[in-house]
């Protein structure tokens, strides 16, 4: 079954232009992504021994996806054996309903959350707010964009598009609303201090915690969370009820495979060997222990994922959401995450968004936001064939007649002419005629057929040579034969 994903309903040109006009965002995103890419390259270069571990992780993850139904079953059994509850949500809406039911049955009044992309995917916060249950994000980046009423612009660094000055402004406004003392400056330390003291109160008040999950270990029924701020430790230990919402593809077979893969997100995402905190949850609080939730619910989200198994796109389910492909992508560096219009931006986003929704959502992504430079392929620690998938999705778009008739006409006519030498020669004569008609005038692109006109909007159109190489060769050959 196809999944459901939220999307920005502004058309692509509007999203694009808004992004390109936002110079602060472009500067910040460009800086952050290049920096991440640099340090990622650095850490793999200085730890060559970890390459073997990465390869093992890829192999094991691929196998886990092939065995997904059995491993999910095993995971659920292990978790339930310890008195927790598991659910399988076929679509986004199902996951939201299950989570809301749990919250309602406990009369939850405040929910605290650690960072999770799948809850963005199912729009959990929006549903909770609508039901009158406030949700507080506790990851610093998520907290920032929650204050700004925005969506994440990067899967790893949700507020990567904002600079610290803008963050300070948001905190100042928040402080005056709450009548508390504002951050002392826009230095990172002061901002963090403000967020920490602000969030601390909420941690203590909350009656339900929500997390995502980086890995699910089938063998032991363990949920693994990696964070850099330690906030997940608090979310999973303070509130009495804990709900973890995780994509089904997060499964790994056993502890041994976890140890191979666990370094990859931090290495590829932030260029560090490991994230600062690794939180593991194995069940609700057992009698006698002081910490941990009384109840633990695990909602496993399908939302279009299972349908990708046994297709050419199966490797997409190995994604560990490290963000390396976003950081490496030149188009992402240019337009940032919001221009994509999907919760999943960047190369993985332009592949997953149409795939998970069976092209119901943002089908323009594969064509509009990729130059096929292959930087993402090089960056991806899980060896996901992103460029091949993008080409394949473009092919599907052609087959399903989702392209404009101009694009269709151009590409088909082009191929018809150029698959024979005679047609090729005729097309050159034609180009010369058009060139004569347009003279040396600028912006003469009106004369150019189909999609070719786009070139002339911003660039001079190259002129067909007075003598093509074919023509030169003819003469050269004749001269040589005369000799």
């Amino acid at each position: 079954m196809a999944g459901q994903l939220p999307y920005d309903n502004r058309p692509w040109p509007e999203r694009r232009d808004a992004a390109l006009q936002n110079q602060t965002m472009r500067h910040t995103i460009g800086f952050v992504t290049r920096r991440f890419t640099l340090i990622k390259g650095e850490i793999y270069r200085t730890s060559p021994d970890l390459e073997a571990s990465r390869k093992t992780a890829v192999g094991q993850k691929r196998q886990a996806i092939r065995d997904l139904p059995q491993l999910l079953e095993q995971f659920r059994n292990q978790v339930e054996r310890r008195g927790a509850h598991t659910y399988l949500a076929a679509q986004a809406q199902d996951a939201v309903d299950i989570a809301l039911n749990i919250a309602r049955s406990h009369q939850a009044e405040l929910v605290i959350k650690s960072k999770s992309m799948v809850t963005e995917e199912i729009e959990l916060n929006q549903a909770f707010e609508k039901a009158g249950i406030p949700v507080r994000e506790t990851d610093l980046g998520e907290y920032i964009i929650q204050l700004a009423k925005e969506r994440p612009s990067h899967i790893l660094a949700p507020a990567a598009h904002r600079n610290r000055h803008q963050v300070e402004e948001l905190f100042q406004a928040d402080a005056s609303r709450e009548k508390i003392s504002p951050p002392q400056s826009d230095e990172i330390e002061d901002l963090t201090r403000y967020a920490r003291s602000r969030l601390r109160q909420e941690f203590l008040r909350a009656d339900m915690g929500v997390t995502g999950g980086n890995f699910l270990v089938a063998e032991t029924g363990t949920l693994v969370l990696i964070t850099n701020e330690g906030n997940a430790d608090m979310v999973t230990s303070l509130p009495p009820v804990l709900v973890s919402i995780v994509g089904v593809e997060k499964i790994v077979r056993d502890w041994a495979s976890l140890t191979e893969i666990i370094q990859q997100p931090a290495m590829s995402g932030i260029g560090r060997h490991l994230s600062s905190y690794t939180t593991m949850i194995q069940g609700p609080k057992s009698p006698g222990s002081v910490e941990g939730p009384r109840e633990w619910h695990v909602i496993l989200v399908d939302n279009g994922r299972m349908a990708l198994r046994d297709t050419e796109f199966e490797d997409v389910l190995s994604c560990i959401r490290c963000g390396a492909c976003l950081n490496a992508c030149p188009v992402f560096r240019e337009v940032g995450g919001h221009a994509y219009g999907s919760v999943y931006p960047g190369p993985i986003g332009i592949v997953e968004t149409p795939l998970l929704t069976d092209f119901q959502v943002l089908p323009e992504l594969p064509s509009a936001l990729c130059t096929l430079c292959h930087a993402c392929q090089e960056a991806c620690p899980m060896d996901i064939a992103l460029p091949d998938h993008i080409i394949s999705l473009r092919h599907t778009i052609v087959k399903r007649h989702l392209n404009s008739s101009t694009v269709n006409w151009t590409l088909r006519t082009w191929a018809r002419f150029w698959s024979t030498p005679g047609g090729y020669r005729r097309s050159i004569s034609l180009a010369r005629v058009m060139q004569r008609l347009s003279g040396k005038k600028r912006n003469a692109q009106g004369l150019f057929p189909g999609i070719f006109a786009g070139w002339g909007q911003t660039r001079e159109i190259p002129q067909v040579a007075p003598k093509t190489f074919h023509e030169w060769w003819q003469e050269w050959k004749e001269r040589a034969e005369e000799k």
Binding site: L20, S367, A415, W455, Q457, T458, R459, P462, W472
Partner: protein, 294 residues
């Protein structure tokens, strides 16, 4: 047909393949034949006979990358036929005047022709046969400057300081052809100080049909690339922008001209020819741009 010029060579006859086939690419053929002509001269100067199969058109990458796989397959089959003909006994290397086209033939053709045959209702045996033919041709394809660096000795670099140029290594050549960064060594050996701009690994925004269908993003990327190229002009005195892929170069050149910049843009083959002729000066490079280099 085959043309052999005796003349002066830079290398002992028996160490270098005596004959190659040239694939000039549609772009060089139509808008920058000077690059292909220079490529012929450079090879012949090194005692390599050049054959130009005249039926050639385009590798079909534009169509393939835009998702028009059948259209691409039609062109790919044409390419395979053209370069197969007359070479069964004596399979020569095929030198492509574009790293990106070379990568397409090498990496895309076999799978594409196999798939398309099946799509067209051909039996599996026929599809496999196409794949084999494509692989045979793909195995002969090399990017021109990389081949040259590997197979031919270069003349002694002239005395005096090398000529600084901004070198753009296109994404496909960089990432899909192994050891492609070595292509710059060829230039250095010839007294050309090839320098990559900052953030060199970042796409210039050409992307084949992407440059037509998404001109806005494509141009934003070009502007970033060109800002870094201009820094090389200012700081290192780069006299031109060069590279082995005309797609990228024409896109960047088109943008430079629209912005009234006269920075010369040329294919590496044109620079190598200048070096061969001992004419490697800023002035001569500027003349290339005006079509006066021949």
């Amino acid at each position: 047909m085959r043309i052999q010029h005796a003349g002066e060579t830079f290398r002992k006859e028996d160490e270098i393949p005596v004959k190659v086939q040239l694939f000039v690419s549609c772009l060089a053929d139509m808008v920058r034949p000077e690059a292909a002509i220079a490529a012929v001269h450079v090879l012949e100067k090194r005692g390599v006979g050049v054959e130009f199969p005249e039926g050639q058109t385009c590798c079909g990458q534009f169509s393939y990358n835009a998702g028009y796989q059948h259209e691409a397959a039609v062109m790919a089959r044409h390419f395979v036929r053209v370069f197969e003909s007359g070479t069964q006994e004596d399979p020569t290397d095929i030198l492509a005047l574009s790293g990106s086209c070379a990568a397409t033939v090498m990496h895309t053709y076999p799978g594409l022709l196999y798939e398309d045959a099946l799509q067209q209702g051909e039996p599996e045996t026929k599809a496999r046969e196409w794949k084999k033919r494509a692989e045979a041709v793909a195995g002969r394809v090399h990017e021109w400057s990389m081949w040259l660096g590997e197979h031919a000795d270069q003349p002694m670099a002239p005395n005096g300081s090398p000529l600084p140029v901004a070198y753009h290594l296109g994404c496909h050549m960089r990432r899909l052809l192994p050891e492609s960064r070595k292509a710059q060594d060829l230039l250095r050996a010839l007294g050309i100080d090839a320098r990559e701009p900052e953030n060199a690994e970042e796409c210039c925004g050409f992307g084949g049909t992407y440059s037509f269908t998404e001109p806005v993003v494509s141009t934003a990327l070009a502007d970033d690339k060109l800002a870094n190229v201009q820094n090389l002009v200012q700081d290192a005195g780069a006299v031109c922008l060069t590279g082995a892929d005309l797609g990228c170069l024409l896109h960047l050149e088109g943008r430079l001209r629209r912005q009234e910049s006269s920075l010369p843009v040329c294919h590496v083959a044109e620079l190598v020819e200048l070096a061969d002729q001992n004419r490697l000066t800023p002035d001569q490079v500027r003349q290339l741009e005006q079509g006066g280099g021949k």
